[in-house]
């Protein structure tokens, strides 16, 4: 006897309505592959690209935030629609609240908050970003903080390029960074 998705969704929704599900997650397909997305009551706290262990990702949430984690496609349907629509180029805004609770370093948080100010279609450099965070010599540390961004796409760490002008590295792989920058008009379509 296998538990039916309908039954599991019903339990998850009851838990959410009662306020005892601290983290809700879902997985769905996008042009950038299947994403795992999790949110707390403050906002989206994790977006993971394919290739990472689901167990490890949820374990990180459990250890760092709360073990009261449930799966619900329905509860994340709106977030899913917003992300998919953006990545398919049908909308140009990603109006999704973000929860950076997984970021424990003060500098890391400043980096992610500052990169969120870089508008769609614009890019910045690691050095400039470090400077804006009040630490002009910390370009490498800024890069590390961006590499640990738990909410890629929504917190646009892809809008930071090396001063050499190439696309540079990206946690989800360079092709995804290229895709996002082309989608946003920061790079010409290849």
């Amino acid at each position: 006897m296998k538990l039916e998705p309908r039954f599991l969704e019903k339990i998850a929704n009851s838990a959410i309505q009662e306020g005892i599900a601290d983290i809700v997650y879902s997985e769905f397909d996008t042009p950038l592959g299947r994403l795992l997305v999790a949110r707390s009551d403050k906002g989206v706290c994790l977006i993971a690209y394919p290739g990472q262990s689901q167990r490890a990702l949820l374990g990180r949430l459990s250890t760092s935030l709360s073990p009261r984690i449930v799966l619900s496609q329905q509860a994340l349907a709106k977030t899913q629609a917003t992300i998919v629509s953006y990545l398919e180029g049908r909308t140009s805004s990603l109006d999704i609240p973000v929860d950076l609770s997984l970021v424990t370093s003060g500098f890391g948080r400043r980096v992610l908050e500052n990169v969120s100010l870089v508008a769609r279609g614009r890019v910045t450099s690691y050095g400039r970003l470090a400077q804006e965070c009040g630490n002009p010599g910390a370009a490498r540390a800024a890069g590390t903080a961006l590499g640990r961004n738990p909410v890629p796409i929504v917190v646009p760490c892809h809008r930071v390029l090396p001063s050499t002008g190439i696309v540079g590295g990206y946690g989800g792989g360079s092709w995804r960074k290229q895709y996002l920058l082309e989608l946003e008009g920061a790079l010409p379509k290849s």
């Binding site: 538990l3 838990a15 009662e18 005892i20 599900a21 459990s62 709360s66």
Partner: protein, 154 residues
């Protein structure tokens, strides 16, 4: 900082066997029982000190939910008297640990009856031969032991 696994992974890992167990306890009310049990478990989950014996804990919560539902409906759950309130099929090593910890407080006779019946999977005839009693007496011993175990789990 929690050392507990994500709750939903527990649901995915044990949900099917808990549903089978709930069905044995409560028949057609199994879905209601399991839903109530999982919500109850989720409410108290962060208060658990560690991640030990989570499967046995979920069984206890499901048992309590079945009895609560039954009490609310003013009738006893539809259970067979020799229906064990835990599952002992699956990983023998894990079952041995879980089951052993569940029955360790029971009297020696009850522990022996449950072990022969549910771990060694003996028939009542074979149990009678092993215990030197009739099959009916063996059945009675298992029934008494199951009652004791149920009492402890509720």
């Amino acid at each position: 900082m929690s050392s507990l696994p994500p709750f939903w992974l527990l649901v995915e890992q044990h949900g099917d066997e808990l549903m089978r167990y709930a069905r044995r306890l409560s028949g057609d009310d199994a879905e209601d029982v399991l839903q109530e049990a999982l919500l109850k478990a989720l409410r108290s989950y962060p208060k658990l000190g560690n991640g030990d014996h989570l499967r046995a804990w979920l069984y206890r919560v499901t048992t309590t939910a079945a009895w609560d539902l039954s009490a609310r409906r003013r009738r006893r759950p539809e259970v067979l008297i020799d229906s064990l309130p835990v599952t002992v099929s699956g990983s023998q090593e894990q079952d041995g640990d879980d089951f052993g910890s569940l029955i360790e407080q029971l009297p020696q006779g009850a522990r022996a009856a449950l072990t022969l019946r549910y771990v060694e999977d003996l028939s009542y005839e074979s149990m009678g031969t092993r215990l030197g009693c009739s099959p009916e007496a063996a059945r009675q011993r298992v029934s008494t032991a199951v009652r004791s175990l149920r009492k402890r789990l509720t």
